[in-house]
């Protein structure tokens, strides 16, 4: 028995040792790379499989192009904020670090990243004009800042994912499937907000019928998810890029940046969660999406979105969410349509060069052209960032299917348009919809740094009440005031007080 336990222990230790080894078998040891005359550039990447897959593709392609540079993976330890804080405390930032439009401000505003405008200005082979301008907006850390603190990698616009399999079983009043449109193509041709609501109504009706008569539901409908607890739309109303454009469509906004006034800013006006027009927008949101039963009135508690489980016909989200559908082994067909409202949100992820990289100079570094000065790791990091934004880099990225290139020239072409199937409506991700305005959703940065998370969290909390029946009167035609809508006003005021406490204490 003892021998068996000893053998088992030894086996477990071997397995642990395997778990500690580098998953990138081809990864070159940094010291070996230095000894081989290469410049080693460390790239801080999230620990997710997708991000590491993207990095390994970049690495292969970039190192083939620049044989004198060795890109080394430096997984960001823990969750993003903890990992970044560790970098700050230990002064251990890698030469390049992953960041996103809604996460970089805490670090770029504190001077941890270099402003890429200086590098672009000194480089004739690159211009930020090649990148979508709305993405460049997300690289600033507040509304007054003009710095470009990271290189946008992808164009994440909120669009509508469509469960084609489910809709192919949803009849309209005329008896045709796809809620009366007959086919996805016909639905696409007629796609607007009215059509969206029309399809939502048809799905909700079909689900209600099947719930009433579960015995009469065909196997095909069951497999497609047309059963109890399925909703027309997984609207992600707890996610600012999805709910902000809808509120804006209905005339409201939770953060009113037009009220900013430098040092004299009255933040209680900027935080317009309780403004009458915002309250009216909540009401429209509730009236059009929640009361008819198109959205689930509580957030899913399982941590999984409805759509990937075939529990929703539509999903308001961005391209990377496709990975969630795929990893869920979805058996239904997915296609894409534009966001149906007058506004849509856009954001991006990308790579920044930490300031520390400017002070690192490799023994193998070359001299800068026309000078005797050696290139710093930041100069080499810039080569990597340029590669990320190049057509070549964007095609490497596009080939994994989870992102839309940030480069305008690849709007209609490139590997990303072939992922899954070239027949899919990939255009939905980049299409300019007539009358639709694209919002860079980073208004939160107009608040003091230590109040931003509280504001963000509490705005989401407000939205979770906006969709609940219990917080609205039966008659929604009543004038908007705290007397007629006491319950929702009560909640909003409660949250606003919490947010203002944090804002005022942070000033």
């Amino acid at each position: 028995m003892k021998k068996f336990l000893a053998a088992l222990l030894a086996l477990l230790m071997c397995l642990s040792a395997v778990a500690c080894t580098n998953p990138f078998e081809e990864e070159e040891d940094p010291e070996q790379a230095e000894a081989a005359g290469k410049v080693v550039i460390k790239v801080g990447v999230l620990g997710t499989t997708t991000e590491q897959d993207i990095f390994s593709r970049y690495k292969r392609s970039f190192e083939a192009k620049y044989p004198n540079i060795s890109l080394q993976l430096d997984p960001i330890p823990g969750d993003y904020a903890t990992g970044m804080n560790n970098y700050v405390i230990n002064e251990s930032f890698p030469d390049v670090v992953f960041t996103t439009g809604d996460q970089h401000a805490a670090y770029s505003s504190q001077g941890h990243f270099v402003d890429l405008r200086a590098y672009a200005a000194a480089d004739d082979t690159f211009t930020f004009d090649d990148i979508y301008p709305e993405l460049i907006q997300t690289t600033h850390y507040n509304t007054e800042d003009e710095g470009i603190w990271f290189m946008p990698r992808d164009y994440n616009k909120v669009i509508t994912f469509v469960n084609k399999t489910m809709l192919s079983l949803v009849p309209g009043d005329n008896g045709k499937m796809f809620a009366g449109y007959g086919s996805f193509e016909e639905l696409q041709a007629n796609w607007d907000l009215e059509t969206f609501y029309e399809v939502c109504a048809a799905v909700t009706k079909k689900v209600a019928e099947n719930t009433q008569n579960p015995a009469g539901v065909s196997q095909e409908e069951k497999l497609a998810g047309l059963i109890k607890n399925t909703y027309a739309v997984d609207a992600r109303y707890n996610w600012a890029p999805a709910y902000s454009p809808i509120l804006k469509h209905y005339g409201g906004t939770m953060i009113d940046t037009s009220a900013l006034n430098g040092a004299n800013t009255d933040y209680s006006k900027v935080l317009s969660v309780d403004a009458t027009r915002t309250m009216e927008a909540y009401r429209s949101f509730y009236q059009n999406l929640a009361r008819p039963g198109y959205v689930k009135q509580s957030l899913t508690s399982s941590g999984v979105s409805l759509f990937p489980n075939s529990q929703a016909a539509f999903w308001f989200t961005t391209r990377p969410s496709w990975g969630e559908v795929i990893s869920n082994n979805a058996t239904f067909e997915v296609d894409f349509l534009p966001f149906p409202y007058d506004y849509t949100g856009v954001g991006c992820s990308g790579y920044a060069i930490p300031k520390l990289a400017e002070s690192r100079i490799s023994d193998n570094a070359e001299t800068k052209p026309g000078t005797s000065e050696k290139m710093s790791n930041a100069d080499y990091a810039w080569l990597f960032l340029k590669y990320v934004a190049s057509e070549e880099g964007q095609n490497e990225f596009g080939s994994i299917g989870m992102g839309v290139p940030s480069r305008i020239s690849l709007r209609n072409s490139g590997t990303w348009t072939e992922y899954g199937s070239a027949e899919l409506n990939h255009r939905a991700f980049i299409e300019e919809v007539p009358g639709q305005t694209i919002l860079s959703v980073n208004d939160i940065y107009c608040f003091p740094a230590t109040a931003q998370k509280t504001v963000s969290d509490n705005c989401i909390s407000i939205m979770t009440y906006v969709v609940k029946d219990g917080f609205w009167p039966d008659d929604l035609t009543l004038a908007m005031n705290s007397g007629n809508y006491a319950a929702i006003y009560g909640k909003v005021n409660e949250y606003k007080a919490t947010m203002m406490t944090r804002i005022n204490a942070s000033l």
Binding site: A81, M84, N85, V88, I89, E91, A106, Y107, Q110, H112, N229, S298, L299, T300, S301, S302, G303, A449, T450, A451, Q452, K453, T454, D457, I460, S461, T464, Y465, T498, T501, R502, N504, A505, S506
Partner: protein
């Protein structure tokens, strides 16, 4: 005083030094991982330091404490209230139930070990896993596992974690699945009671209740005291079980324990406020623990010689 021979003296010095060598790792560990962080967090609490800035921020002295007892007091006070309520309800429940379970599982019955393992198993679940599991099993939706069972029993669905009114109750109730941790300690203590005491009690005609009150409980008081102290500390620092829950904001707000507030400050990059609040919590725990120690005359440590 007679001088020791040189050889013995050198051996004594060597022994003396080697004893220090053995305790050195612990001393270094405590210094580096406890004393230094405690001192630096105390210093941070008197400054305005952000997690996104390496250097210590400007000194603001008692400003962070003034904010906690001023503008933040409504929020922090509520949070302390919830934390104390949780402690006052869950701690006695845990103590009593784990003790009752241990009384049963300390018996030498065939197959009892299997039950001990079963009751201990939930303790071994990582916090993240149990958070996800309970969020899913005890959500307020009518498809959650618990509500499916209730529906089958023709009982109304319960909101569990999804309502501010029931989230704390649910959290306390589901926390009882971890009583296996205390149970193991109780069993060890009960098993350590000399059998001769029970034999004498039997000869004297003592029934089960008398044996419990006169023998088991008095001899278990050191363990009661230990479980009480660790229970107070753990309950006042309750955190993991909350942050890993994936539930409605309404439920999460009802579980706004004090360490969750500290975590929130830290996540909001406000390191100095997080440190100030941590020190307030530390002082509260220290005072309550000191009082508990002061009032521990009921603990039986054996016959004093």
């Amino acid at each position: 005083m007679e001088k020791l021979p040189e050889k013995r003296r050198r051996k004594a010095v060597l022994d003396w030094l080697s004893s220090f060598a053995f305790v050195l790792p612990v001393v270094i560990g405590i210094a580096v991982f406890t004393i230094v962080p405690m001192v630096s967090s105390l210093l941070y609490s008197f400054t305005r330091t952000l997690t996104t800035v390496k250097d210590m921020g400007p000194w603001v002295w008692l400003e962070n404490y003034r904010l906690i007892f001023g503008v933040y007091w409504k929020q922090i006070g509520e949070s302390l209230g919830v934390t104390f309520l949780f402690t006052v309800i869950s701690l006695p429940l845990n103590l009593v139930l784990s003790f009752a379970l241990a009384l049963f599982l300390a018996k030498d019955i065939r197959g009892i070990r299997a039950f001990r393992v079963i009751y201990y198993l939930p303790v071994m679940l990582p916090a993240v896993v149990s958070g996800i599991l309970w969020s899913s099993l005890a959500s307020g939706s009518d498809t959650s596992a618990f509500n499916v069972i209730l529906t089958h029993l023709h009982l109304p669905a319960f909101s569990f974690y999804d309502s501010g009114d029931t989230a704390l109750f649910t959290f306390i109730l589901l926390g009882l699945f971890n009583i296996g941790g205390s149970m193991i300690l109780w069993i060890a203590q009960i098993k350590a009671i000399p059998v001769s005491m029970f034999e004498v009690a039997d000869l004297e005609g003592a029934n089960a209740f008398v044996r419990l009150v006169r023998i088991i409980l008095p001899l278990c008081t050191p363990m009661i005291f230990y479980n009480l102290i660790t229970g107070i500390i753990n309950s006042l620092q309750v955190f993991n079980g909350v942050v890993t829950l994936n539930i409605e904001p309404e439920g999460k707000e009802a579980l706004g324990f004090i360490v969750v507030q500290i975590y929130d400050f830290y996540n909001s990059t406000d390191l100095s406020m997080a440190c100030a609040l941590s020190w307030i919590l530390f002082l509260i725990i220290a005072i309550i623990s000191a009082l508990t120690f002061k009032l521990n005359r009921w603990v039986y440590y054996g016959e004093e010689v």
